[in-house]
């Protein structure tokens, strides 16, 4: 005879009801879950034992004796993941951690529609600056931990943190294989105390990713998925055809050489609106969807977690050639073979297929740059019969639309720029692909209680490549594909690591000690590439192109390449000690040898020590309701960076210095020396001090604050060699840089009646300063960012931050000839003799008789000084709402959307306010086609804009179906939600998007915030569902 039992499950700590607790009748298949108010109802025979279990809580079992309501208060399980922090080669109770570690848990990531894992961290933890490099689906973001740690050549790679997934070291570009639904937790090791256990590769920080594992006793099947639409969040205000004609006429008339000639556009107003090129390439309904099924469970012998996912995203720009999709499979399991012997594996596989628009955040060649710069007077498709009978439309290779009409062809002077639709058509079908297998297998022995011996072998296997067909095409007088090509590229790479550790944990009275000894061998950089190109095969589009066509030898080219192996060999040891969780100490040291270090410095030692004190556990600490817990901690440590290039310590000769002799024109291969060697080459060293507190206040607030000072010394500098040397000079460990910062993380949670409320926020202040360069070197511009014909636009100089913008100071506009004539050097020379009223007055900063390169100055930093983010959680009955936003402040953005080398490139509408004799109250200089004062050709503050922004990243409203309904459907859980990404962005920036990571092109010099026409982030609306079976 069943009796119906009701009850409530609450959190022992604060009395808040816990939803989703598994209530299971032992010895039968009956079970249920608590609802959002922590209530449950179950009908079982009297005497049945009910277990109450929840992840992160200690399970409880009670025997049903009557139908009286059961009240269960679950306590937190200190061994469960919820209270344990992954610290590298082990875990540690959060209460005794002495390093600065920020974390993100699965719950925080749930239903965030990101497709790369680093985006899941954006705005969620302090100390991280994360910015998208492109809105191209699947693009990696730039991640910087506690500022820019290093500079110089390869600075982008050097500053990427080390990612370690389940113990396997992965480079920043390689983590794209991860599916965020599989993530259990992400820990960011911010200070040297935490990171130094990864030694010579940890200076830019370490991010540990742990994937989900199965749990004993429960079999869980979950489906989650979303589907939605994306649109550009913003369109630029560009000139329409008649405005454009007016502006071009104005610039032409003001030109020096063109006096007396007829205007290019005799009748601007007749041109009307013309073509809106942005609308031509933007997609206001680009699709995005994700599906994921996971099954996990286990018994006392074995546990497993397995999942399959599929993620698809179309780009909002030039969608037919901007697509991304990824399929994932994961299998994690552990098996207890004997009581003291465990084996297991964590294995992830992913397959990605994507296509891209080609030039991303580059001013040259891409369809986005074309849309911004092409003339609005140019037609999308040319239909005028008079023009169709003439050149250039009679060219046999003009690109035509589906109706056979030729796409409009840019006029002479638009350089390599193409009609974006013609461009899209000639790239249709081209795609990139990859297969990634990343995983590890381990054996763990526990011969004595507390003694664990573990061996892990991890590997990352990648296969990747692309197929591209370029048909014959005539885009313009300066852009054409005179021969068709079909190109196939195949690559593979292998990396592995082997690690062996012994750890021993023991409590003596109130002393708790954990010792760790470990050894590791790592190898990466091994890669092989083959590229084959067939010319002139009889195919007209991608679908008809294949390698079964066998062209003659002359119409085939093949090339190959291979990477240089990088090996690291390490020993490490760590001791963690605490007395009654009151006095805490961690000390560690790692020794790393790297194949990149010179023979005189083959091994580096990386020690760190950290200590903490928990005054609230002292007897003398008054019991109060203001400070519930408080931990004060401090650390100091040394970390290294071995991204210093391969074989820089030996003298090598390089090839490719070829020359043809003789009438046959056969090329003879020439070799000459590369830079001279530096046998003293070693790692860059980063010393970091961190002081922080962790506290719980007023029962509901949590607070973590950290101050740090991080100094990198021996930054690899190739002293900017004057060209008269004739070859590069070797890189040497010469530069220093310092970051100081303050970080704050705050949390608050409260339940008032039916309303659940939580807010968590973080804020980081950062000051980056280069403190030393090579001797006799006052500044470097060689590694800086450059822009079109302006040359370098950033400079790295001691006393300033890395790659600050550097150009002319703009003193406003000359309003009269008299002002120009009176603007003189100390000896009376007119400084800007070519100027006319309406031209920029450049500051004569060095006080000589000319305005030249020596008058440039620092104009602002591209690195945000302040980054912040917050999440608000609201719940009412079965409804929940999550709002998550983040922002940055204190940086400048270089707005380089217009092509300077194209006189007739289109403008944003703000140009209508440029200076004219009748419009003098403006800061936009006058237009003149040859620009004799170089208003637009010189890099001045004219190009810089404030980079501050706040973005509401996601806003989500969910509804969890009531228990009764769910049970009727024979389900455990059903939640539906609607979600929007990038609902709004508050910014004064005039380009598409103020979020600009380090551009992927070589001209970025590792600098943030340079906009050459970056692919904008989409605004997304999604509906989603989570089902538990």
């Amino acid at each position: 005879q069943d009796i119906t039992v009701k009850g409530t499950v609450t959190d022992q700590k604060n009395g808040i009801p816990i939803p989703g607790v598994t209530v299971k009748a032992l010895g039968s298949s009956k079970g249920t879950l608590t609802d959002v108010s922590g209530n449950f109802v179950i009908a079982v025979p009297q005497g049945t034992k009910l277990t109450f279990s929840q992840l992160g809580m200690v399970s409880q079992t009670v025997t049903v004796s009557s139908s009286a309501a059961i009240r269960i208060a679950l306590s937190e399980d200190s061994k469960a993941l919820g209270e344990v922090v992954v610290v590298g080669y082990g875990t540690q109770k959060k209460s005794v951690v002495t390093g600065a570690i920020s974390g993100v848990k699965a719950a925080d990531l749930e239903n965030q529609p990101v497709n790369r894992i680093e985006q899941a961290l954006q705005g969620r933890t302090s100390g991280l600056t994360i910015a998208a490099t492109s809105g191209q689906p699947g693009s990696a973001s730039t991640v910087r931990l506690r500022g820019v740690t290093s500079f110089g050549e390869n600075s982008n790679n050097k500053n990427n943190p080390l990612w370690v997934v389940d113990g396997v070291v992965i480079d920043n570009g390689g983590i794209g294989y991860l599916n965020q639904s599989d993530i259990e937790s992400i820990e960011v090791l911010k200070d040297a105390a935490a990171a130094a256990i990864y030694g010579a590769r940890s200076a830019s920080g370490v991010i540990l990713v742990t994937t989900k594992k199965g749990k004993e006793g429960t079999l869980t099947i979950n489906y989650s998925g979303y589907y939605g639409t994306q649109a550009p969040a913003k369109k630029l205000d560009l000139l329409n055809a008649s405005q454009y004609a007016d502006v071009i006429n104005r610039a032409f008339a003001a030109g020096l050489k063109n006096g007396g000639q007829p205007l290019p556009f005799p009748n601007p107003s007749a041109l009307g609106q013309g073509t809106d090129w942005q609308s031509v390439i933007f997609n206001n309904d680009a699709r995005k969807q994700n599906h994921e099924v996971s099954i996990s469970g286990g018994n006392e012998k074995s546990t497993f977690y397995t999942s399959a996912g599929y993620n698809l995203m179309d780009g909002i720009v030039a969608t037919p050639i901007s697509k991304w999709n990824r399929a994932n499979v994961r299998l994690n399991s552990t098996h207890k073979i004997r009581k003291w012997w465990t084996i297991g594996e964590n294995l992830g596989y992913s397959h990605t297929v994507n296509s891209g628009i080609g030039a991303v955040n580059r001013e040259f060649g891409g369809p986005l740059s074309s849309a911004i710069n092409l003339s609005p007077t140019m037609p999308i498709v040319e239909t005028n019969p008079a023009l169709l009978g003439q050149l250039p439309y009679t060219n046999a290779n003009v690109v035509r639309d589906a109706n056979g009409n030729p796409y409009g062809i840019p006029a002479s002077g638009f350089q390599e720029m193409t009609n974006p639709l013609a461009y899209i058509q000639t790239r249709l079908g081209n795609y990139n692909w990859d297969h990634n297998i990343v995983g590890n297998a381990f054996v763990e022995l526990e011969p004595l209680k507390g003694l664990r011996i573990r061996s892990t072998i991890g590997t990352k296997l990648a296969f990747y490549g692309n197929d591209a067909f370029s048909p014959l095409a005539y885009f313009s007088t300066t852009a054409s594909t005179p021969r068709s090509t079909f190109r196939r590229e195949l690559n593979y790479s292998i990396a592995y690591n082997l690690e062996n550790t012994i750890s021993y944990t023991r409590d003596f009275n109130k002393h708790n000690v954990t010792l760790l000894l470990g050894q590791g061998n790592y190898k990466d950089g091994y890669s092989r590439q083959l590229v084959t190109t067939y010319f002139d095969i009889p195919a007209t589009d991608f679908n008809s192109a294949n390698m079964r066509f066998k062209p003659i030898e002359a119409n085939k080219t093949t090339s190959g390449d291979e990477g240089t192996e990088h090996k690291v060999n390490s020993f490490f040891s760590r001791v963690q000690y605490n007395y009654d969780e009151k006095y805490l100490l961690t000390a560690l040291i790692r020794r790393d040898g790297s194949s990149r270090f010179g023979p005189n410095h083959k091994f580096g030692y990386f020690p760190s020590v950290s200590a903490g004190w928990v005054p609230t556990r002292e007897d003398f600490f008054p019991k109060n309701n203001i400070v519930n817990t408080l931990k004060i901690r401090g650390s100091y440590g040394v970390t290294g960076n071995d991204v210093i290039g391969d074989f820089a310590y030996v003298a090598t000769v390089g090839s490719g210095r070829n020359y043809p002799f003789g009438t046959a024109g056969n090329v003879i291969i020439g070799y000459s020396p590369e830079a001279s060697p530096n046998p003293n080459l070693k790692w860059e060293e980063t010393k970091q001090t961190d002081i922080g507190i962790d506290a719980t206040l007023f029962n509901d607030f949590t607070l973590t604050a950290d101050w740090y000072k991080k100094k990198t010394t021996g930054i690899l500098q190739t002293p900017p060699t004057p060209d008269y040397v004739g070859s590069g000079s070797p890189a040497r460990n010469l530069g220093d840089m310092q970051n100081t910062g303050f970080e704050l993380e705050l949390g608050y949670r409260k339940q008032i009646g039916q309303i659940r409320f939580g807010i968590s926020g973080n804020a980081s202040w950062l000051k980056n300063e280069v403190t030393k360069l090579a001797p006799d070197v006052n500044f470097i511009e060689t590694d800086g960012a450059s822009f079109q014909n302006m040359g370098t636009i950033t400079r790295t100089q001691p006393g300033h931050s890395f790659n600050e913008f550097y150009g002319y100071q703009n003193l406003g506009l000359f309003q009269s000839q008299a002002e120009i004539d009176n603007y003189k050097g100390p000896k009376g020379t007119v400084l800007q003799p070519n100027a006319k009223p309406g031209d920029i007055k450049f500051a004569n900063l060095n006080g000589d008789e000319t305005i030249d390169v020596n008058d440039r100055t620092f104009l602002g930093s591209p690195i945000p000084k302040f980054t912040y983010g917050f999440t608000i959680n609201l719940g009412y009955k079965n409804f929940d709402l999550v709002a998550f936003g983040s922002g940055v402040a204190g940086n400048k953005i270089f707005q380089g959307l217009r092509r300077l080398d194209i006189a007739n490139a289109n403008y944003q509408t703000k140009i209508l306010n440029s200076w004219t004799p009748s419009n003098t109250n403006t800061n936009i200089p006058r237009l003149a086609v040859d620009d004799p004062n170089e208003n637009y050709k010189k890099f001045s503050s004219l190009y810089l804009e404030n980079g501050d922004f706040f973005r509401l990243r996601t806003l989500q409203i969910g509804y969890t179906l009531p228990k009764a309904t769910v049970e009727k459907l024979k389900l455990q859980k059903l939640r539906i939600y609607v979600l929007t990404e990038n609902l709004f962005t508050i910014t004064k920036y005039s380009g598409y998007d103020p979020e600009l990571g380090v551009g992927p092109d070589a001209g970025s010099g590792g600098a943030f915030s340079i906009d050459r026409g970056a692919y904008p982030q989409a605004r997304t609306f999604l509906i989603g569902i989570n089902v538990g079976f």
């Binding site: 002479s412 005179p482 090598t652 000769v653 210095r657 020359y659 004057p722 060209d723 079109q788 040359g791």
Partner: protein
Amino acid sequence: CKKYLDVNPQDRILTSNYYKTQTEVFSGLVSIYDSFGYQYSGLYDKVAIMDVASDDHWAGGGGPGDINDLQVMETYKLNSQSGPSTYLWSKGYQGIFRANFFLSKVTDAPIDAGLKSRFAAEAKTLRAIFYFDLVRFFKNIPLLLQEVDPAKVNDVVQALPAEVYAQMEKDLSEAIPALPATVPAATEGGRITKGAAQALLGKVYLWQKKFDKAAEQFALVNGPTPGQVNPANGYKLLNNYADLWNVNNKFNSESILEIVKTTSSNGGWSNAGASDGNLLNIITGPRGYQPIKPDAPDYYPGYGFLSFTKEFFAVIHYDPRNAPTVANLDSLRKNGIANYSDSYNNTGYMLEKFIGRQKNKPATGQTELNFGQDIYEIRLADTYLLEVDALLNGGAAVGAGSRAYQLLNAVRARVGLNPVAVTMDNLVLERRLELAGEGHRWLDLVRWGRTSVLAYKGFDATKNTVFPIPQKELNNTKIEQNKEWGGTK
């Protein structure tokens, strides 16, 4: 475990293991020639710079910012940060570094002694070529004869121009005896010969106004009888001027030294400057060229640079060299024979000598970057006229029947022109017409002090006779800017 860290540098060749065989040593020599032929990835070379700087050409191209370095050269708005200085400077010193390194290695290389001395002579001649350009363009330059000590990179100082000239004279005098008078064109065409080094030495003397010595060297190159084959080296003016620009006519009897180009180096856009194809061929092509009638020339459409000025066209219009020199697109369009798009500052007169042709299109690789026409660094008509120059300015007899008279009029007779007297004005005009578009005129005008004709372009005689030393060379170093550019040298 140290052994574990030894990674085999399979993709690197260690300097210490190199230059051990004849092939390896030769590859080191080839790398110096590579610098000699090096063009800038921004699609120009020395000829383009010199043409645009002269009064004969406009930069042209797609607009006022297209190949900006050429545009600022044309208008003389160049400065130490923008313009072609960096290319000219770094090209020269890259070649000097390779030559210096090669010379330091070749002495001990275990190869045949005769080869060794020939290789060394070639390296020295090439080093002199690099220094000759550098000293003419930048005047005050460092004179480096060995690798710069990495620890003292910033301590290098400039030499006096006279010291640079003295070194060139020394290098060339040492090289001449070890160089062959001729080389087999099929396999070694393009290698430095005795005549090339002598011609260069003659120029080095002429630029120092050592007229007698210059004339002496040029006479060795030009031979005893102007207009006839020089028995010492086989040099003779081609009978047909237009044949000089036939791309298949490499290493002809008028060619003394040429920059060899090929259709088969497979140059690509990722590093256009590394292509061994001729970039002039594509940049001089008329923009969007389309033949209409069958008799239209088979120009390959290009980027419309280096168009001739109307003033130059007026000068050459009735000269027999007009047709091989000027592509008259204006006339082709007016007569409905072919069509094209205007260049910036379009005149309709393009540089016929270098425009790429459909029939010469490379069979493989990126078409634009792989045309194969060679470029004359020195040719016999040039050395004929330079000898005239040396004789005339050196005070030798120049009347009818004199050697100078015979030389000047041999050049004219080749294109069917009547003799003229040897005067400075006649020589200036003859060089302008004979060598049009080949990059000589600007250097001549500066040498003669006849730069007033450049004033309309913005040429300022107080500063534009030399180039500004690139800013990067001045930063943190002991190099001083030329006083013409606000410096102290």
